[in-house]
């Protein structure tokens, strides 16, 4: 397998696990955190939005508010991971697509 395929395959394996594997948060919640599609209750939505868009501004109070609104710590762990992996995946795909366009290739390099 070419080296770049190994990098992308390793990334894909992470994405597939956090979205599709067993979890304490529902698969639907994890997909929404990944995509930045909005979540209930509102304090959870605020936390997950910050993780994706301005992570350095997340505070202890953001996590405490999501817990007080009924989320367990394991659910928060999973949903924060999904938000981080989701944002990263969009950046990775945007970069690969721009490269493919620049090189005149119809698809990202290494894509099957």
């Amino acid at each position: 397998m070419p080296d770049e395929d190994r990098k992308r395959a390793a990334h894909r394996a992470l994405v597939e696990r956090v979205l599709g594997g067993e979890g304490r948060a529902s698969a639907e919640q994890r997909a929404r955190a990944f995509a930045g599609d909005g979540l209930a209750p509102p304090p959870l939505d605020a936390l997950i939005g910050k993780v994706a868009d301005r992570p350095a501004q997340v505070t202890e109070a953001d996590l405490a508010a999501a817990k007080a609104a009924g989320c367990t710590e394991d659910q928060l762990f999973e949903l924060v991971v999904c938000a981080a992996v989701g944002r990263s995946t969009r950046l990775y795909e945007a970069g690969l697509a721009a490269l493919a366009e620049a090189t005149g290739d119809g698809r990202p390099h290494g894509a099957a």
Partner: protein
């Protein structure tokens, strides 16, 4: 860390491992390394594989170059833990702290090769703005970077856009200069697996 499970929720064997590492290295395991032990089947096992592949897998970029990319992306994200960790690691890898500091202070004037400068500029734009265009990529390619090197750099960028977010959301403790230096030695010896 900000979730009790990430401070105290580890299996007994893992807690013993943390204690032994602290005893023999003289430093507590950094939170970045602890996190991947929490329910590793959910995140840690695959995250380690991806990060190791991006940072230590085959690439025309040196380990120092990739650690510098990690430090640069972390700087754009204002992620204090990761800036400290990867500034230390890049500085050790290059054996040149001033060069790393110069890049993080002012990319345009830093004493580095143009292909690396163009690549860092593109990674910064992607991380900051969430998008890059074909024109940005043409500039990088025109600076002498191969398409494969661009892909390798994007993998580093992807890995650290995950880790930066977890460091800031979960509130990784800052270990201080000695702790960062010890962590850097470990990352250069063992990588991320």
């Amino acid at each position: 860390m900000r979730l009790d499970i990430l401070d105290r929720g580890y299996r007994p064997g893992t807690k013993l491992l943390f204690a032994l590492i602290r005893l023999f290295s003289g430093h507590p395991l950094p939170d970045a390394a602890r996190l991947v032990f929490y329910r590793p089947d959910f995140y840690g096992a695959r995250a380690k594989e991806f990060t190791h592949e991006a940072m230590r897998g085959p690439s025309a970029w040196s380990v120092g170059d990739r650690e510098l990319m990690a430090a640069y992306v972390s700087t754009v994200n204002d992620s204090a833990f990761c800036v400290g960790a990867h500034t230390a690691t890049a500085s050790q890898a290059y054996q040149d702290g001033p060069r790393v500091a110069a890049v993080l202070a002012d990319l345009a004037s830093a004493p580095i090769a143009e292909p690396l400068r163009a690549t860092l500029r593109m990674l910064g734009r992607l991380t900051r703005e969430g998008r890059v265009g074909a024109e940005d990529m043409r500039e990088v390619l025109a600076a002498g970077v191969t398409p494969q090197q661009v892909q390798d750099a994007l993998a580093v960028c992807a890995a650290f856009n995950i880790t930066n977010r977890l460091a800031d959301a979960f509130g990784f403790a800052l270990p201080g200069p000695e702790g960062f230096a010890a962590g850097a030695r470990h990352l250069l010896k063992r990588g991320y697996r």
